[in-house]
Amino acid sequence: MKRTQQGDRTWFLIHSWIGLKLSVLMSFVLITGTFAVISYEIDWLLNPEMRAATPVSEVASWGKVYESLQTEYPRATIASIGRQEDPWWAVEASVLTPWGELGRLWFDPDSGAFQGATGWVNVQRFFRTTHRHLMLPTQIGIPIVASLAFPLLLSLLAGFLVYKKFWRGFFRWPRFAKPVRIWSGDLHRLLGLWSSWFLLLIALTSVWYLVEVLGGNAPPFPEAAAPMARDSAVPQTLTGSRIDAMVADAQAALPGLSVRRIVFPQRPEGALLIQGDLSAVLVRPRANSVAYDPSTGSRLGAYRGEALGIHQRISEMADPLHFGYFGGLGTKILWFLLGFAMSALSITGCVIYSKRLVKHHGRRGATAAPA
């Protein structure tokens, strides 16, 4: 009995030590990660250019978008043209101005008309970069952030070990009428129980990110045949109608492909890639891809998500699971709420600790005063 109590005490100390000592960094990473989930939507609310003038489920003509881009920003280097999956999104082109400044151009998905430009730095970049690598070089920042997964896992385990008969707590509403220390403890336990699976998922995907940055990243996607030699990355002969023809061909090569992105070559020997959603679950659009020679429009190769190896599938799975975008806005909102719960766990843990200590000091003070 005594040994069990001592064990509980040890696990409790581990749980509170991790929660307290790492609270500053952990809370920051959790809060920025929570908002990173809906950061695209925050930008969408803030910038009218990002809203589709005519909401449609599929982009009517990627070629028209390309032509509008060429008219509006003729000397810009195009990195990609893509679109979020919901119909209310405008088509986004990532470009580089002649003097090397990154920007985003927005087009109506129906007519291809130019809607406006926004800078590269936005709300999404803030939450994404501060959450992912604390704005540090990725080789330093990602290991720091991803390493938090280990104390998180240990804290989760310790939490369950010290919470006796935890299954009874799933429907125990916090006693908000009681002092802060009591209700914050109740809330901490309730949120901890409901978000425990999510916490495990986030910690495991973070461990994967750590593995990736330390060299365990998945092998590259299947190589396409080499395109014809040319002088520039994007040939002058590339037109909107050729892009539309390539999109149609990509949909014939991968029947059912919902095109989400066109990646433009950045080198004269590079291929143009048409990527999108198909039948494989929990993959990014790049997992279904068709490569083209931008000079001739001929198909160089194609692959689909199902054809990827297990290592590649794990790598593809990490982002949709970590950010919760695999089910559209619904799962994003759920992930945001769960992220909010995780952030609240970190904060309520600190409240419990400090209130407990304040009370302890108060008692000691009261006992000491008469003496």
Partner: protein
């Protein structure tokens, strides 16, 4: 004792380390906004023939409406000409060879075009368009 102070003292050195990383991340992000992450190299905008004079134009750094643009001209002969961005022209004599000049960019400009005008001849160089 104040609960916040109790918590902060409880975090100890780990708290300072975490706060330093958070502070660094926020500072770096502010720096990213404050200082344009633009390449410092000269960007070529092409060559034109103005009468018998061959002109090549380069620019360096971002070009923004209401600001100034660093331009480099490469001439194979001396030139008397008006040079400017969009309608904002400056008259001058330009020696053969390379020379750098700072030109004003009109406030209302959306697309930037460098114009070189000498007598009835003129040449224009499309420099680009800024993103906000």
């Amino acid at each position: 004792m104040n609960a916040f102070v109790v918590w902060w003292r409880g975090t100890g050195r780990w708290g300072w380390a975490g706060a330093a990383l958070v502070g660094l991340a926020l500072t770096l992000f502010v720096a990213l906004i404050a200082f344009d992450p633009v390449s410092d190299r000269w960007v070529e905008h092409g060559s034109r023939q103005l009468g018998s004079v061959s002109i090549s134009v380069f620019s360096r750094g971002a070009i923004r409406a209401g600001g100034t643009a660093a331009i480099r001209l490469a001439l194979d002969q001396p030139l008397e000409a008006e040079i400017g961005i969009n309608g904002l022209l400056t008259n001058g004599s330009w020696a053969a060879g390379e020379q750098e000049l700072i030109l004003e960019v009109p406030e209302d400009a959306e697309r930037f075009e460098l114009i070189v005008r000498s007598g009835s001849d003129s040449a224009s160089f499309y420099l680009g368009r800024a993103v906000p």
